[in-house]
Structure formats: structure tokens, C-alpha cells
């Protein structure tokens, strides 16, 4: 089963664009539910992307790519 990791629409207040500043796992890594996967920056604030479930990570939006709320940034294969 594949689960999409999306940027939650309530992660920050307005509809500003963000940028992927860090992936803390690589594509192909196994991650657990609740793991801190990535950081997204909006202006000077950094927001956390947490794994919604366990699985093998495939990164879609790489570091330095610009993202918006609701964007799929990675997938997890359980």
C-alpha cells in the first residue's frame, strides 16, 4: 500500500510558499510512524514533516524545491 506524504494545510497560517530545507532520511530508507522526516521553511520559520505511518520512503520534492500546502512531497510504501 502506498501513502502520499503531503504538506498539511494547517502547517502554517497563510498560503505562502515554502521550501524543502532538509530531508532527514534518504529515498529507500525505512521509517517509523512519527519519525521527523523533513523540514520546510516559510520565511524564517521551520516546520516539521512527520511520518504519518511506517514504510519505505520515496522523496518527490527534493531539498531546495519550492512547495505549497497540500503538495505531495514524498510517498511511503508499507
Amino acid at each position: 500500500m502506498q501513502i502520499a506524504i503531503v504538506i498539511p494545510v494547517d502547517l502554517w497560517e497563510d498560503d505562502s510558499e515554502g521550501v524543502m530545507t532538509a530531508w532527514l532520511f534518504n529515498s529507500g530508507d525505512e521509517v517509523d510512524e512519527g519519525d521527523l522526516l523533513a523540514e520546510v521553511m516559510v520565511e524564517k520559520a521551520q516546520y516539521e514533516i512527520i511520518a504519518p505511518s511506517a514504510g519505505v520512503l520515496t522523496i518527490v520534492k527534493h531539498e531546495d524545491e519550492v512547495v505549497i500546502k497540500g503538495a505531495i512531497i514524498a510517498t511511503l510504501d508499507a
Binding site: T21, A22, L24, F25, D29, D32, E39, M41, K44, Q46
Partner: protein, 341 residues
Amino acid sequence: MTTKKATRKLTIARAMAEAIAQEMRIDPRVFVMGEDIGPLGGVFGTTRGLITEFGTERVRDTPISETAFIGAAVGAASDGMRPIVELMFVDFFGVCMDAIYNLMAKNTYFSGGKVRVPMVLMTSTGGGYSDAGQHSQCLYGTFAHLPGMKVVVPSNAYDAKGLMTAAIRDDNPVVYMYHKSLQGMGWLGTEKGATVAVPEESYTVEIGKAAVVRKGNDVSLVSLGAGVHHCLRAAEVLQKEGFSAEVLDLRSLVPLDREAVRASVGRTGRLIVVDEDYHSYGVSGEIIATVVEHNHTCLKAAPKRLAYPDIPIPFARPMEQWALPNADKIVDAFRQMMLNQ
């Protein structure tokens, strides 16, 4: 899950915060003070999440009063606590240096070794993002010059966590200087190479041990902090030109691993020191002296240094970028060295 343990990466900011949290869990004497280190989590992310877990007694936002709260850390450390204090920018040392170099660094000596001052002063260094000359300095040499305090400078998250744990457990004062461009705060132009795999369990990196981060035979590139990443990029370029550069990450300035410097230069016969701190009277001169005082015959060429010119750090981007060390300058320095040899 061994795959995961081996691959989880952290930014230096998170590595520092994780080390502090792990020590706070096992040692009630450890607490943190500084400006904006509470709910904000540190301007450079060094204390993120700590206030949620440990509360306002042990994670204390302070007034903008560095003399008082760094002095207070000295008093608390002498009274059995293990404070960690943050001096937000190292450039701010001008308002509180007495607490640092006359109290923190000297009380152990003046007491004949009977008073211990186990505290960590963590402070951000470095420029490259047009913050000008009161928020961009490194000042490594300034602190390393003054006796009585250990000085560490991590270049990656693995070392950052291990050095922080070692610093907290050390019975001496440790100045922990982290470079802003390595923190993983995107708005500071993050150096990707600093965000590396970090074990979840607690560990230490010994203070006073340099690390060969890339092996080579033709030249020793000796650096610290952000400079290590410039050296690694230069080494890649030189490899394409048929030369193998060794990169030595000093990691600690006090104590300085002079043996590692001498051993590397002894193998390669050539030395380039890369330092974002000021050129004169500083780290770069000390590294060169470390080699030539010991054995000048090991050198095949005169050593070189790439350091910040002896000027206040300018604001305008072209001027600042021109003045900073970078990989191109290192490659050029090596080429010059080979031409003049």
C-alpha cells in the same frame, strides 16, 4: 531497524538540541539559559523543543543581559550545576567578556583547581549572508587565545552532537562555536554537507581530537567549521586535476590536536590552512607555527593560509563574498603553491 538507525540524518541545530535533551534527561544539574531559547527554540534552533519537555525552570529565557546571565552561569556552575548558556552571536562578546574570560576561564586556576566551572557557552559564528560586521564574525582565535576555556567548532551534525555531549560532561568551561551556515536553518544558506547521519543514542566525540575527513597525499587542507566544506569541494576539484588533497577537520581549537596536524603535513608535505576568522594573529598562523616549529623540513613548499582579510566584515554582497574563503580560492592557492615550488 538497523537501516533507519544508520541513516537518520539531523541538522546541526537538531543535533545540538538532541544532545542537550539527552543530557538533561539523565542529569538534573543541566539547564539552559539564554536569549530566545525558550518557546522560540533559539534563533539558530539550538534549543528547539526543550521547553516543552523540561519547562521554564530548566529552559530559561533571559533578559538581554549577557553580563548577568553568563556571570550567573559561572556562579551556578561553581555551585554544583551544569549550565548551558547561549551567547546568540559571538559578536556580542563585547558586552560580556569579563564574565567569560576573567571569571569563567580563570576561577578554576585562581582557586588552585578547587573550584570547578562546568559550563557550556554556545555561540553562533560566521557570515556569508550580508549581516555585516557585528553579526558575522568567527572570532575563533580570540577565544582560543585566552587560556582557561576549551573551544570546539563542529562541522557536521555527528560531531555537533558528540561534542555537545562531551562539552556538557566536561568539568571545565567549554566554548561551543557553531557556524550559522551549517545549522540547517534554510534562511542562512545552509551547507548541505553538515546534515549527516546521527545515531539516536547518546555518544561523545572527544574534545581535542581532529579528524581526517578525506585522505590524500599531495596537500593537507586544514580547516574548521564551514571551512571544512570548502576544503572538501576543493579536494573534489583537485582530484579531477590529478591531485589528492587530505582534509583535516580540527574540531577543537583548545586543546588543539597538534599531532594530527603534524602527522598529516608530514605525509603530504604541503599545507593550506582555511579559516573564516581574521587573517592576522589567529588560527591560521597558529596551525602553520605548529608545523614549522616542530619540523620545517617536512614542507615541500611554503605553507599558505586563506583567511578573512583584516577588515571589518562588509555588508554589500559583492564585497562580503569577495572576502570570504571558498573552494575556488583553495584550488587557486594549491595551483600557486605547485607553480612556486
